[in-house]
Amino acid sequence: MNRETIGEVGLIARRSVRRTFRQPALIVPVILFPLLLLAINASGLDVTKNIPNFPADSYLDFALVVTFMQGGLFAATTAGTELANDIETGFLNRLQLTPLKAPAILVGQLAGALAVAFIASVVYLAIGLIAGAHIAAGVGGALALIGLAMLVALAFGGLGAIIGARTGSAEAVQGMFPLLFVFFFLSSMNLPRDLIAQQWFRTIATWNPVSYLVEGLRSLVITGWDGTALWRFMVAAGAISVIGFVGASVSLRTRMERT
């Protein structure tokens, strides 16, 4: 990426962040909804910690990272919706008439989603700590948690951008949300894989890359610095990011067909 492209990315990123912060409706639900679910699950399912071999001392510690995952999911819809809005309003046509390159638009557009994910992650962490969560990997682990949560947002943001670029419809992107949510529930989000009694569920959770994202984040909270969980996280996040970015680039290039 040369200096000119970096400048273009920065410009679109500033616009994306500015737009995002002018829409409280994009930020507030991202923060409130996962925290609400956390509060319900942490209080209602706390007895789960009594299951033999349950890996955490409290269900709050175990479930805290689910909020980061849900924040990443919201990032996907934010990135896709923003891109679709630019197509619907014709703003993409305006950008097409400038020397701007498609990848710069894509990366810049993801900046707004990442900004939301960053703020949300800081709030999740702060509320979690106030509620009594303990981060086994310490202060460094807490910072790493925020960093990895941003990677999750980037990975899912790319998937959202594919739908946004292909359909050019904000409604279609919103429609993707429940589908991704199913992937979340078919993972080790609510229970460790080795404690899932149903064999079919455990098999799906084992093949579901979301499990490795959850387990990587969770390891920092309940285990400490777990190399295996973290490299599996990086492979899963990297693979989803590559698929998302390449897919979105191709879709956007097709959408921005110009001579």
């Binding site: 273009e8 410009l11 616009r15 500015r18 829409q23 014709g90 305006r94 020397p99 110009r258 001579t259």
Partner: protein
Amino acid sequence: MSNGIEIQGLVREFKNGPRAVDGIELTVQPGEIYGFLGPNGAGKSTTVLMLTTLLPPTAGTARVAGHDIVREGPLVRGVIGAALQEAALDPLLTGRDHLRLQTTLQGLPKAQRKSRGAELLRRVGLEDAADRKVGGYSGGMKRRLDLALALVHSPRVLFLDEPTTGLDPSSRADLWTEVARLAREDGVTVFLTTQYLEEADQLADRVGIIDHGRIVAEGSPQSLKEQIGRSSVEAIPANPDDREAIEIVLSQFGEPAAASPKGVAVRLAGGSESLGQVVRALDGEGLEVSHLQLHAPSLDDVFLAATGRSLEGDEEPEAQEEAAA
């Protein structure tokens, strides 16, 4: 031709659809305002998308300011400005935000960006609204900002796709003034699509009339009207009960034309010279009229003569063209 447009055999076909643009040939001289007039779905916007390099042609080619639209897309984009059919604005950004973004993306030197933005905001009369979000702008304000954004890099050729659709008469007149000034004072070549006869008549040096993807007439508004158009006569009965009888008399002199609610009008097959015969015929039947007026030929007459249909009131859905695009 440094700032002009040359189009040769331009065609655009869409999957499972008719040819939206079907072999257009035309030339626009540098500094000229060319009005591309036609009903919704005629192929105007598709032509503009091809000329602005946003849509590859199926066949044929065009040169804009000397650059081939197919092989030299980036060079074309460097010398054109475009305000497309929908004002392509971000409702969450302010007018000044838009100009800041556009001046940077168009590569203006940092020192010039602020002053150029301020100059354009002043020129389009948006100084006072510059720091308001565009979502709160009126239709006219959005169109003016869209025009300002198209002018950021001082383009040599300007494409305006139905720039005044939906605007009130005052906003429309303001925009016409600015477009005319751009051509006369700055020498900008303007390619303007419109479905408004009055707009083409008042603003364009030359007009190309497009229908079903083909140019059916071309020339200056005056010459077109002289060549093809026919005068029409409108009579308003003194007694409303005589309306049908007057229609029968007038029908001897030509086919029906658009009239006021109380009036009856026909296009005079014999031209304005037959007005005397009309008066004598009405008098012969003992029909009194409160108002009799001869209308000079309009561009709608030209369109009617070329296509057999009237442009005014033609309601072919624009969505057809948009969906195809």
